[in-house]
Subunit: 221 residues, 2 copies
Amino acid sequence: MIESAHRNDFYITNTQKQHLKPMVTKTRTLSKELLEQILTEARTHSVWLPEPVSDDLLVQIYNLMKWGPTSANSSPARIVFVKSPEARAKLLPCMAEGNVEKTKAAPVTVIIAQDMEFYEKLPKLFPFADARSWFAGNNPFIESTAFRNSSLQGAYFIIAARSVGLDCGPMSGFDNAKVDAAFFEGTTWKSNFICNLGYGDSSKLRPRAPRLEFNEACKIL
Amino acid sequence: MIESAHRNDFYITNTQKQHLKPMVTKTRTLSKELLEQILTEARTHSVWLPEPVSDDLLVQIYNLMKWGPTSANSSPARIVFVKSPEARAKLLPCMAEGNVEKTKAAPVTVIIAQDMEFYEKLPKLFPFADARSWFAGNNPFIESTAFRNSSLQGAYFIIAARSVGLDCGPMSGFDNAKVDAAFFEGTTWKSNFICNLGYGDSSKLRPRAPRLEFNEACKIL
């Protein structure tokens, strides 16, 4: 019995090592230059070059960001790309004063919203279990899941936009209730945050603000 | 006067074009292979190879994710890397039943937390204005900012971990109150979500679940 258990341990170890080898070979760190583009040197922009952003590029961004993980694949984020003068005119009065000019100048302004009935899509999105029933009727759970996961997806959006060479200007300085009244009345969508999108004018950036050190923000236990 | 206005327009246009040129030259889309690594082919893992993750790599992940944008650079996320048998023993009873085995097997389990007094760091993080005063005493604003932005940072964490070749298993199936009692009693930190970290066994993945089509999740206005 002991011998058989040992044999079994040995067998598992070898099998795992076989899996390990190709994985570790595949493992690689993105180059410094690419990490600069998506994170370490990417900046929040407020001044925009007069260069348009095509609808094709917006579809490309969605087709990247949609693959980022969410709880039970719930994918609660909904995205409104504000481009036309009419839509822009509805949005500007909802912005905090300090965000009006930059939003006026951005070629696209994106409302990252959350569908408060996201769970109605779970029969398609999570075919492995009846995940819809985990949420329906449980408002606090619906709200925390929608807010957490649409925020995660907002971050995937920012990374995806930077991945295709665009700059972002994310903002929470706006009146959520006004945006919801102007864009989402009679629907189950609610605004989360807003993000300007385009090609930023790097010459107009202020010096970069510091970040917390590892020891201020992290613990290894 | 009209002539001078025209001259001025012309001058602005040329200046902007000068800015535009180097920007557009710099602009590039990440290769298909790298986008696969961070988004399009990356998967949520539940089965882990017995390959350790060094502390150096954890520091590398933080030093990438910390640059992702947050509201007023508030950076409310706090990260606890659970590695030791003692810390692991405190965490496992907090997990939902379906998340115990995968968490037991992961080389590192990460608690993505939020500091409910994040605004005390704003004099350092946002030296441009007295941003601390925007938050202090305004609990609903503190709570939504901490939750939204620590979630954004959780997504930057996932992308950063994938960027250095690791796999993630993010989970919200655990008891937040139990985790807070076990790890954060007497502090201003609160759990947001949890993420296993390591080298996933790709042979154990189930078929990938679908995502919403562009027209189901997005509108261009």
